[in-house]
Symmetry: C2
Subunit: 183 residues, 2 copies
């Protein structure tokens, strides 16, 4: 299972080395490689998603909250490409080892988007006629694809430079104002 | 490799049965399971993406072209959940067996989006200040996440019912008209 994420025995050795213990010692704490993988995924993603929640709660206007979410989302994965690789693979496989963790993280992300939309709707800066479940897919999907494209790019570039153009697309869409709006 | 997509020996048997030949005969035409997988992916995705191109070229206005793309994209994957599973997994793994095919399909999708934007810009219904590479990620990411959520949903629903709400989000975004638009 580890191998499908591009992880190998050397990863266990690396974990052991960083923990300052022998390879075998790792297995006193974890049942097997899959168990390490699930724990790694849970620890890392919970940490990341909690930080999304914190920066969004700390931001003022709804647009600032959206900016905080997208900026942090791209920044976390840029700083930790291993997490990005595991997250991309694990969320898109049919049989997800971390199904429970993914469901929990989806709920966290949904709550964050709800908070953003509610403040935007209260301010009058965001539309009231939105289907929240789809807005969650719309945002996380576009950000994920931006991260995935970055992971597979042939030349290096700063992932966080995509934040502002993404926020503009989320807020304003690709249609000309007042022309295609048939809502 | 096949196993990571949830495919097993029974899939080979099924292919053989549908082709009306013995299991072993399949290996006269393909080197191994990975070779079958790559050929399956290439044949199916090329077919799908060619059909996206055709419906977009056949549509009138830019908005109709966008509607044709999203509608067909969701419809193709809804009709062929096996392709959806393989496509989701293969495009999101670090070491992609079908890297060349994925690169080629990305180019096809990009060309389709360029066609839509160019007609929208000529009509005046779409913004001129768009970064095309990011619009491609924005659209394909949101559609992919909508398909992935559907694949993992606990209750069945019609995937194509998401087309119109998605088109609305792509065109208009989540911001209120004239309020958040700072472009």
């Amino acid at each position: 299972m580890f191998a499908r994420h591009g992880f190998h025995q050397s990863t266990i050795s690396q974990i052991a080395r960083e923990a300052g213990v022998a390879d075998g010692t790792i297995y006193l704490y974890f049942k097997n490689k899959d168990d390490i993988m699930v724990n790694f995924f849970e620890y890392k993603t919970r940490d990341a998603f909690e930080s999304f929640r914190k920066v969004v709660q700390g931001a003022g206007s709804a647009v600032d909250k959206l900016r905080a979410l997208i900026g942090r989302h791209l920044d976390v994965f840029q700083r930790d490409p291993d997490l990005a690789v595991v997250y991309q693979a694990e969320t898109h496989l049919r049989n997800r080892m971390c199904e429970d963790q993914i469901k929990e993280m989806s709920k966290v992300y949904r709550d964050i988007v709800v908070e953003i939309l509610e403040s935007g709707q209260a301010e009058g800066t965001m539309r009231k006629d939105l289907y929240i479940g789809l807005v969650v897919r719309f945002i996380i999907g576009a950000v994920d694809e931006t991260i995935n494209t970055w992971l597979h790019a042939e030349t290096a570039y700063d992932l966080t430079s995509m934040a502002d153009p993404l926020i503009d697309l989320f807020l304003n869409g690709i249609g000309s104002v007042g022309v295609t709006a048939d809502r």
